[in-house]
Symmetry: C2
Subunit: 270 residues, 2 copies
């Protein structure tokens, strides 16, 4: 692990940029190398076999460029492919947003009644249930697949009557006050974009957990002693497997002060 090497981050699309932005806030001297597998997104509706194949290819690509740690900034890939990636690269520190989000939920919930809004792939994997139960045995986790949230966020429809009606469709029965749920995990990196509408629906007593911040916190612990030298000044390299212009537009909104957000490389993984 070389201190000056970048931290590799990948997601199927733009969602993981929220994770990259959170990492940059807490570790501004690190270089970040971000790969978006836009040509094959979304991952959340695909089988574990296919998502694992794509995720291992993405990891191989980033490792080939030279990285000191890997952040799987996609909940679906974290849920189904983290083990395969770790086995492929046994000496590389590999972090997933699911373990970080689960830790955040355990810290945020008093009642232990936790709702996870996620993709179909993440819900089917039971990864959140397993991770949360590992920390708190008396928890009760309800994982709800919300695939339309991804399409809404990708289209920039992040609030308003359509978002509200879709949110009610998925989540209203869980937050009628009868079950004592006090925590909503945004278990897909797209969902923080809809946080305002989801927070209103869940109500003021429910705490929202955003995996991005939780992942950044966990990464600081993982890299303790291997932080980049402070004189590197950080940096951001963006790579997409399709449509780099569209990707760059969204990246510039998340990194308004960084020129690098306007330059997105196009790469083929397959």
């Amino acid at each position: 692990m070389r201190r000056a090497d970048p931290i590799g981050i990948f997601d199927s699309g733009v969602g993981g940029l929220t994770v990259a932005a959170a990492i940059r806030r807490v570790m501004p001297d690190e270089k970040l190398l971000y790969l978006a597998d836009v040509a094959r997104q979304p991952y959340g509706t695909k089988s574990p076999r296919t998502v694992t194949r794509y995720a291992v290819q993405a990891a191989e690509f980033l490792v080939g460029r030279g990285i000191k740690a890997l952040v799987v900034a996609c909940n679906t890939a974290s849920a189904v492919a983290l083990e395969a990636i770790s086995e492929r690269f046994p000496s590389l520190p590999v972090l997933g947003v699911v373990e970080a989000g689960a830790a955040g939920a355990v810290a945020a919930s008093v009642s232990g009644r936790i709702v996870v809004a996620a993709t179909e792939g993440t819900c089917k994997s039971m990864a959140y249930e397993r991770a949360i139960a590992g920390w708190r045995g008396d928890s009760r986790v309800t994982c709800i697949p919300c695939p339309l949230f991804v399409a809404l966020a990708e289209e920039g429809l992040t609030d308003g009557p359509i978002v509200e009606s879709v949110a009610r469709h998925y989540l209203a029965p869980l937050f009628d006050g009868s079950g004592g749920e006090d925590c909503l995990v945004l278990g897909c990196t797209h969902f923080p974009l809809l946080a305002d509408a989801l927070g209103r629906l869940a109500g003021p007593k429910v705490r929202l957990v955003d995996c991005a911040q939780a992942t950044a916190t966990l990464l600081v612990e993982t890299l303790a002693g291997c932080e980049a030298p402070a004189d590197t000044g950080g940096g951001l390299t963006l790579i997409a497997t399709d449509a780099p212009e569209r990707f760059s537009r969204i990246a510039q909104r998340l990194f308004p002060t960084m020129d690098e957000a306007s330059r997105v490389e196009l790469a083929d993984l397959f």
Copy 2:
């Protein structure tokens, strides 16, 4: 072209099954070989470069299995990749749903004011505008990208308040009666699944054009003289690049009397 060979059909997912079903209704003796590139769907949000690459791979796969004609049962792939496929296989009859849908629209519209609901990729390609203008020079075509319709259909949300509000979001301004629009082309093979809600929104004076039926009609003309021998009894072979069980469930709804719909092969294109 051997009469007994199957007709190859491909789409990114389940949408093209409506085309396969329409072909089966008019040509029950033909064998159909259907490929769904589920591992990389959707195509509609991706760049022409990537969609063309996927579509040519799908065509190569089907040609490798032996087919007498190819139906591109995905509007996005028809819009951007039909030429590349025809160049790659110059002696194979290749039909796309866009040209068929455009012909259907010209037949259905009196005013020449035509609305096409489609994916982003189809709209950007201007393929419907070009095809319709080729038949009717005084037409006015408005192509509206409706990406959320794909997510709704894939999730089985085909009617009800959410579908109605999304349909209003995209289409209401076009059907307020002021523009004389009298035809709505369902320019994505997913959209016929939402036809009831879209028909109510457009109103009784607007004719809906479903590309599936139009494509079957065009195929009959293309294959004139090369129909399968009547004693073959037809048949259906389904292949998916991911999650064959999920694909099979939807196929069995569209082909309830065919045992073949319960058997879906898994294949890798890449």
